[in-house]
């Protein structure tokens, strides 16, 4: 389509920012931080699960929905972040909280060589390539006898019990260290989720994010407005590795026990995440939020049905992809025009999308 150059490309922001939403969001966040005061431990643990899945989903959405990098190997960074945290705590005697942050950095460092390999593969091959990388990291870490080899290991009790932050929380709420642990990890997950959404939102509204959306919507046009697609994609890949690794470390601080098979599980850390994003709506910030709620409800409804649960989840994912590729949030936004996070910029002009009449066949 050489005609694209005829019409100049313009970028539009559909800014229908909702002030009421900002107020409601602030209230929800306040309430969420106060949650340990009035909900039980098991609810707190469920909320932790929801928040960490949300963080993973936002990261995957950033990769696939905005940068067009469909990875089925993000478990590489969950597992690597978790193992890095374990290594720092067990071998270097670090405080788990500090270890979480360092684990995020370690994950983005791992992403440098893997990006080097993966960016040689395009599209679908990128997807399977990312899976191979995850397998390599899993198999390599399973060789580390000091971290339990193939069977895994646990965090030493005193490492978590003696955390200064934990003591503080324990005294604040007057609970034992295990209860304080749940509160602390919950808060961290909440912070991480807010920070992730905030950063993704800012990234997508920035000039870089604009370029990213441009790259996704139309490579050619993006080039014509001077966006370096490759550099953008690499940056997003590294950022997602950081966020995913950090989240993986946090998840495993809470679990306190790790094994290669669990930490690198493609079902737990990638399949679920993909379903969350697809069901909620790929390419939006709202999508993963809706998706994680639906996912949690489904999981509770179908928990007793074993493999039927995943089977149904898979069928729902396929159906959504075929009939409502913008997901539940997409359906909702289409009907109402509501956008909570107005970042969807589109390139307008230029392209010619064939209409029904006179459109090409097939």
């Amino acid at each position: 389509m050489t005609d694209a150059s005829l019409t100049p490309w313009k970028v539009e922001t559909r800014a229908k920012a909702s002030a009421t939403f900002a107020i409601v969001a602030a209230l929800i966040i306040l309430l969420a931080f106060a949650a340990p005061l009035f909900v039980s431990r098991s609810v707190l643990q469920d909320l932790f699960f929801i928040l960490t899945m949300l963080v993973l989903a936002q990261n995957w959405n950033l990769l696939a929905g905005y940068a067009g990098l469909v990875s089925v190997g993000q478990q590489a960074f969950v597992g690597f972040g978790a193992y890095a945290m374990f290594a720092l705590v067990i071998l270097a005697g670090l405080d788990p909280l500090a270890a979480i942050l360092l684990a995020g950095i370690a994950s983005s460092l791992l992403a440098v060589p893997t990006a080097f390999f993966l960016f040689r593969l395009q599209g679908a091959y990128f997807a399977i390539g990312s899976w191979v990388i995850a397998e390599v990291v899993r198999l390599a870490l399973a060789q580390l006898k000091m971290l339990g080899g193939g069977t895994g290991t646990s965090l030493p009790r005193e490492a978590t019990r003696d955390m200064p932050a934990l003591k503080l929380v324990g005294e604040l709420f007057g609970v034992k260290s295990s209860g304080a642990g749940d509160i602390l990890t919950y808060w961290l997950a909440l912070l991480l989720a807010i920070a992730t959404i905030g950063l993704v939102y800012r990234l997508l509204r920035s000039k870089q994010g604009l370029g990213l959306a441009a790259v996704r919507d139309n490579q050619e046009a993006a080039r014509s407005v001077g966006v370096d697609a490759r550099r953008m994609k690499t940056l997003v890949y590294l950022a997602a590795a950081f966020g995913t690794g950090l989240c993986g470390a946090l998840i495993y601080v809470q679990k306190a026990r790790i094994s290669p098979d669990a930490a690198f599980s493609v079902v737990d850390w990638t399949a679920y995440v993909i379903f969350i994003v697809v069901i909620g709506g790929i390419g939006t910030i709202e999508g993963p939020i809706v998706g994680v709620i639906v996912f949690y409800i489904l999981q509770n409804l179908l928990a007793d049905y074993g493999s039927w649960y995943l089977l149904i989840l898979g069928l729902i994912g396929i159906a959504i992809m075929l009939f409502a590729p913008r997901g539940l949030w997409g359906l909702f936004a289409e009907r109402t025009g509501i956008q909570l996070f107005p970042v969807r910029r589109r390139l307008t002009g230029g392209t010619v999308t064939p209409s029904k009449k006179g459109g090409p066949h097939g």
């Binding site: 696939a64 067009g68 469909v70 089925v72 390999f117 040689r120 593969l121 599209g123 679908a124 091959y125 997807a127 399977i128 390539g129 899976w131 191979v132 397998e135 390599v136 198999l139 390599a140 399973a142 060789q143 193939g150 493609v266 079902v267 399949a271 993909i274 379903f275 697809v278 790929i282 074993g306 493999s307 039927w308 649960y309 995943l310 089977l311 989840l313 898979g314 069928l315 994912g317 396929i318 992809m321 075929l322 590729p325 090409p360 066949h361 097939g362």
Partner: protein, 287 residues
């Protein structure tokens, strides 16, 4: 001597991986589609053969023959009714739909057959071996490699000697002009996937007879197949056979050093090729 034995065993193992990969290579060459459920479809076919062997008392080879048209029909329908609908400019739908399919097949099989390990019995054949000079090779591994070579020859004949093969190549070059020749993409794609599923059935026969399998091993087979395709170069069937052999030899060498390194060694060989020759060892001239 031990090294020669290791290499020979690796080449024979490579035959199995080439069988896993041939269907993937075929489908990618024609429609640029990567089916993430490919490995799970192999496992599905293995269960199909197993059921026919245990329920009907068929010989496994006969069962595979019976399974072929069934798998062809499954592949045809899958492509025609499901995957064809995902084609467009966006790569997400085909990837995510086949990923969902992979999860669906795995869990469907788990529901139907539990997570127990199975094996398709082949009488005494799995322990039979012949002496090739100084080394002994198993009859089943030998048959596997021979089948892989036969499949590659057959697919090449189909591609370069038949009218259907011309249609395959034409549509992968230029679907619009292919339409002007009277080629219907949807039917051709469905036929291609059907043929890929026939190859998958052959792969499943050897997967199921040579080692234990269970519903969850599909993704690993997909990965080996993918590695073989990339090593060989996209769209080259002989390259795919060679790629399978590279993975097989790397794995047996890895295992010879330390049994825990078998799989890792295969992956590392793949990454090495990706590093040195990103387009594979035998890239197709026109792409």
């Amino acid at each position: 001597m031990m090294w020669i034995d290791t290499i020979v065993q690796g080449i024979l193992l490579g035959g199995l991986y080439a069988l896993f990969a041939a269907g993937l290579s075929l489908v990618f060459g024609i429609m640029r589609l990567v089916n993430l459920a490919h490995g799970d479809l192999i496992v599905l076919a293995a269960f199909l053969i197993l059921v026919m062997v245990s329920a009907l008392g068929l010989n496994p080879f006969v069962a595979a023959l019976v399974a072929m048209p069934l798998m062809f029909a499954i592949g045809w329908a899958l492509q025609f009714y499901l995957l064809n609908r995902t084609f467009g400019t966006d790569i997400l739908p085909p990837l995510l739909v086949t990923f969902g399919l992979s999860i669906v097949i795995q869990n469907g099989l788990l529901e139907g057959f539990t997570a127990d390990s199975r094996r398709i019995p082949v009488g005494g054949l799995d322990s039979a071996s012949v002496a090739l000079g100084p080394i002994n090779v198993g009859v089943m591994p030998l048959l596997t490699l021979a089948s892989a070579v036969a499949v590659i020859i057959g697919l090449n004949q189909l591609f370069y000697r038949t009218s259907l093969g011309r249609a395959f190549r034409a549509i992968s070059d230029d679907p619009v002009t292919a339409g002007l020749m009277g080629i219907r993409p949807k039917n051709i794609f469905a036929t291609a996937t059907g043929i890929a599923m026939v190859v998958v059935t052959i792969a499943a026969l050897y997967l199921g007879t040579r080692a234990n399998f269970d519903p969850t091993i599909g993704p690993a087979r997909l990965i080996y197949a993918f590695e073989a395709v990339i090593i060989g170069g996209l769209g080259s069937l002989w390259g795919t056979l060679f790629g399978g052999i590279v993975i097989g030899v790397a794995q047996t060498f890895g295992a010879a050093v330390n049994p825990e390194w078998q799989i890792l060694a295969g992956h590392l060989a793949f990454l090495l090729v990706l590093l040195l020759k990103p387009r594979g060892l035998f890239p197709r001239a026109v792409d």
